[in-house]
């Protein structure tokens, strides 16, 4: 029970050694007035067989629908080797690598990961991960304020084309330190920020300009013009990017105005969808900002015999040393997901990742073409996009999605709650995991649903 190995005899020997009459006696420092007589509200224990049955029933009831939802979490093929390795007990039951000599496996993996993320993003250094893309974005805002001490502004310019939950989480996390988010409006024709929209902010300065690529709609922003505008005004640029897209798209380090901090959601790199987590946030920056970057960082050094080895470094930034003056309170990060991503990127390489990016984009284009052939469905924006697309319908989207769900197809998300000005609009995504037959099945289902119900 409870994976406790003690026999009654052993318990007796141990109590004797302690000099206590019973295990109850060991709790005699807890005031009697607050002692619990009996723990209620927790069911009786289950053996592994029983809990296995329950979990399999619950999993079966959730099913495995055909999914065309993106919106910040993307279904990609995950090679079997990725989790065969990440599920090894030596990786998943290890602790944070504080005793470096006993943790070279984890530390070297992170060093390799840092190298891959730095290169993918076109930056010079990366950390060992943050919790997810949204909280990484919040940390990037706080970092931008720290690195831009010259400016007194605590106002960050954040496009309304950035994922709504990233903006919400950033507010929840950074507002306590006085940071405000000013939402830059987008062009409803093009689904992106027009550089002219920034002119109104020129007089007052800003703590940072965030630039998503692609944005929440899947549309490609004019990253060169936007980053250059910020660079000219000494405003730090925070790039928020999709890591798969970086195999195909120009990385933030190569944008005309460059970037100061790059963050994003690492889930597409070998991490399953798993109802929203665990994922991981990645962060990369310029070498000159490394001491302001939160999170763990692994460095290579030498051991007492002059051989190379890896260790956590620059720990003076972190909570266990700086305490109240730390760059962030972050302690546990997302180590195991980073391990998975490092194996994934090793298997895919630049060539494989590029194929995934191209195939995902091609499938989405195919999806858009198939759906816009249906009367009542048209593409919302004429702008270039990457692997995700917004479609206008001729009627409210929610009932259509419900009808599709009854056919075991998840057709995307309804944009009405977050972008009522675009409604009725649907955000849909197809990755390399979808075949032409899948797309045809989706299109047929939509055709059937739309023709069986009258238009709004």
């Amino acid at each position: 029970m409870a994976f406790i190995p003690h026999t009654a005899a052993e318990v007796g020997e141990m109590l004797e050694s302690i000099g206590a009459a019973s295990t109850e006696a060991l709790f005699d420092e807890i005031p009697a007035s607050i002692r619990l007589r009996e723990l209620s509200g927790v069911p009786e224990p289950l053996g592994e067989m029983e809990i296995g049955r329950l979990m399999r029933e619950r999993a079966a009831s959730d099913g495995q629908p055909l999914c065309f939802i993106g919106a910040g979490a993307y279904e990609h093929h995950i090679p079997a080797a990725v989790w065969a390795i990440a599920n090894r007990g030596e990786f998943y039951s290890a602790y944070t690598p504080y005793q470096a000599e006993a943790s070279q496996g984890t530390l070297q993996t992170i060093y390799e990961f840092q190298t891959m993320i730095a290169s993918l993003t076109g930056m010079q250094v990366a950390n060992a991960s943050l919790y997810d893309g949204a909280s990484a974005f919040a940390e990037a805002l706080l970092m931008a304020v720290r690195i831009n001490r010259r400016s007194e502004s605590l106002r960050a310019l954040v496009p309304s084309t950035l994922h709504p939950h990233y903006r919400a989480a950033a507010r929840a996390i950074t507002s306590h330190q006085g940071v405000t988010l000013e939402e830059v409006p987008y062009c409803t024709e093009e689904g992106r920020i027009l550089p002219e929209a920034l002119t109104r902010y020129e007089a007052q300065g800003a703590a940072a300009l965030a630039i998503p690529q692609p944005n929440f709609f899947g549309v490609l922003e004019d990253v060169d013009a936007l980053s250059e505008w910020a660079r000219r005004r000494g405003i730090p640029v925070i790039a928020v990017v999709n890591p798969t897209s970086l195999a195909l798209l120009k990385p933030p380090g190569a944008w005309r105005g460059g970037a100061d901090v790059v963050v994003g959601e690492g889930q597409p790199l070998g991490v399953p969808l798993s109802s929203g987590g665990p994922y991981f946030g990645f962060m990369a920056t310029r070498m000159e900002h490394v001491r302001q970057m939160p999170g763990r960082i692994v460095g290579r050094t030498l051991d007492a015999a002059g051989r190379p080895g890896f260790t956590l470094t620059l720990q003076a930034r972190e909570q266990h040393i700086r305490r109240g003056r730390a760059t962030s309170n972050i302690c546990t990060n997302q180590g195991l997901m980073v391990t998975a991503a490092t194996v994934y990127l090793s298997l895919m390489g630049a060539g494989g990742l590029e194929r995934v990016a191209i195939a995902s984009h091609a499938r989405t284009s195919e999806l858009a073409a198939a759906l816009t052939r249906i009367p009542g469905v048209r593409q919302a924006f004429r702008s270039p996009y990457f692997h995700e697309v917004v479609l206008r319908l001729d009627r409210p989207v929610a009932p259509v999605l419900e009808a599709l769900a009854r056919r075991n197809i998840l057709g995307g998300i309804d944009l009405a709650p977050h972008y009522p000005e675009l409604a009725p609009a649907l955000l849909a995504c197809a990755t390399e995991t979808k075949t032409s037959a899948d797309i045809e099945a989706f299109a047929s289902a939509v055709r059937e649903v739309l023709s069986s119900q009258p238009a709004a």
Binding site: A102, Q124, G277, T313
Partner: protein, 501 residues
């Protein structure tokens, strides 16, 4: 296991190599991306490995074998609760339907996972005594952030804008003051008495109209139960402040006493400690937060609710208009939450209590045996909770062998070292937490190992100071690591150490 060091994965690369079975099988069609403007397209490919699948599997499998882990070694890290991570929790959380479900999939296709999360909320309420729970914080530190943010939101909602100060004991975990700062609060430290309890006198002097609240762990970071916790709660509440419980040491008191009954208004639970979700080499964790009635409107969203007809649904902005908001893009570390749920169902009510009893038994047994072997306990008159502190200050002074040296030498004995140099209050300390899943044999071996190292410290101190000797690397130079920053592999340079800018 001796090794001459593993190459980096990049050093195994050869141009043109790849794990082609994993790639999309059709070659890339440039026409498919012709609609992407040329100026947005990447020019130079990123530096990623070009290796076969066997190369990658062999490389990472060999790396894994360089690690100590719970599956392979005794790991008595204080405050980390390195208990066995049941394989069933891992396997069942990775059932394909759970693993493949999109976070924005509709509730109609999520009643199974939502049922697990709802019941997890209920069980966490039961063990903490709290009235409402949010599962969204993705780690203990995020749970702390949520807790302090809720306390501040509560005071603001009452129009009490002066309350900006968070009190922490001087022995608090670093995340506590770091969290307070992140929430825009100021930190006031109060001293701990020589018997390990917080000083009530100092607390009375510290509270006032500026007090937002106090953050406490109980049992404390010193490994002992805060015996005057009821008085502490009365003092803080009387001054208008709230109490925050850092759940790092919950394993010691499961089923024995509940934080709500101690007077706490908000708690975070480290699911990767008490509820055995894997530590993963540094995460992912989960820091669920529970609150009393006063703070319930402020919980971070989303939560899982249940309708009268028994259907589960997400509760978000509309349901909790005063919420402190979202802390992530989706709903937290669901996969971790499922593992905790499975573990808690396997434990059941009797299992929870047994956990605390055996964790405490193991710690007190080690304390008794080590004391008899001549080691100095930091709080010899106190019961150990699920952990306790040994101080090696005498060894450091007389033999010039430090806690760090003992820790490194323990690795040679095939055991991971306990937590060292935390809490800062106790010099040359080892914070030892065996957990309930370790047997008497393992504990006896640990006592023998430490006794043997003590003898070595007297007879052959260099052996201890030079440890570890039998691991893949010798002791690593941290000073050099920070001074000559080498944080990414650069293909041209193959030697570690270029001067930092």
């Amino acid at each position: 296991m001796q090794s001459h060091g593993e190459k980096l994965i990049f050093e195994h690369s050869r141009p043109g190599r790849g794990a082609f079975d994993q790639w999309p099988q059709t070659p890339p069609d440039s026409a498919a991306v012709a609609d992407i403007p040329a100026e947005l397209v990447r020019q130079a490919p990123p530096l990623l490995p070009e290796v076969s699948e066997l190369d990658a599997v062999r490389h990472f499998t060999r790396l894994s074998q360089l690690n100590f882990s719970i599956d392979t070694h005794f790991y008595p890290l204080g405050s980390c609760t390195m208990k066995y991570n049941p394989k069933a929790c891992n396997a069942l959380a990775q059932l394909p339907q759970f693993l493949g479900r999109h976070p924005l999939a509709p509730e109609s296709h999520g009643q199974g996972v939502l049922a697990c999360l709802y019941e997890l909320q209920e069980m966490l309420k039961a063990v903490t005594g709290m009235r409402a729970v949010s599962l969204t914080p993705m780690a203990g530190a995020q749970g702390e952030f949520a807790g302090v943010a809720m306390i501040r939101a509560y005071h603001r909602a009452r129009g009490d804008l002066a309350r900006k100060e968070i009190i922490v004991p001087e022995a608090a975990h670093g995340t506590n003051p770091a969290t307070a700062t992140m929430c825009g609060a100021t930190v006031r430290e109060i001293p701990v008495r020589s018997d390990g309890d917080v000083s009530l006198e100092a607390l009375r002097a510290a509270v006032g109209p500026g007090t937002a609240g106090i953050m406490l762990t109980n049992p404390s970071t010193l490994g002992v139960f805060e015996r005057h916790i009821v008085e502490v709660a009365e003092i803080v509440h009387a001054a208008g402040g709230l109490l925050y419980y850092d759940g790092a040491n919950l394993n010691a008191i499961l089923g024995k006493v509940r934080p709500a009954d101690m007077g706490f208004d908000v708690v975070h639970v480290n699911l990767h400690k008490t509820f055995s979700t894997p530590h993963g080499g540094g995460g992912p964790g989960a820091g669920a937060v529970g609150v009393g009635e006063r703070l319930a409107p402020f919980l971070p969203i989303p939560l899982v609710g249940r309708d009268e007809d028994g259907r589960y649904r997400w509760l978000a902005e509309r349901d909790l208009p005063q919420s402190i908001g979202r802390l992530s893009a989706f709903m937290g570390n669901t996969g971790v939450l499922l593992r905790a749920y499975i573990y808690m169902r396997m434990l059941g009510s009797t299992g929870m209590t047994a956990v605390a009893e055996h964790a405490t038994l193991n710690a007190n047994y080690l304390l008794a045996r080590l004391t008899r072997a001549g080691f100095a306990a930091a709080y010899p008159e106190r019961r150990a909770s699920h952990e306790f502190i040994v101080t090696l200050k005498r060894e450091a002074r007389e033999l010039e062998v430090t806690a760090m040296d003992f820790a490194k030498r323990l690795l040679d004995y095939g055991m991971h070292a306990p937590t060292t140099y935390f809490p800062l209050l106790v010099p040359e300390c080892l914070l030892i937490e065996p957990t309930e899943t370790e047997s008497k044999q393992t504990l006896d071996a640990f006592v023998e190992a430490l006794t043997s190292i003590e003898r070595e410290a007297r007879e052959d101190p260099e052996r201890v100071r030079g440890a570890p000797h039998t691991l893949p690397v010798r002791r690593l130079d941290d000073v050099r690591a920070a001074k000559h920053l080498d944080l990414t592999f650069k293909p041209a340079a193959s030697v570690a150490g270029t001067p930092s800018p």
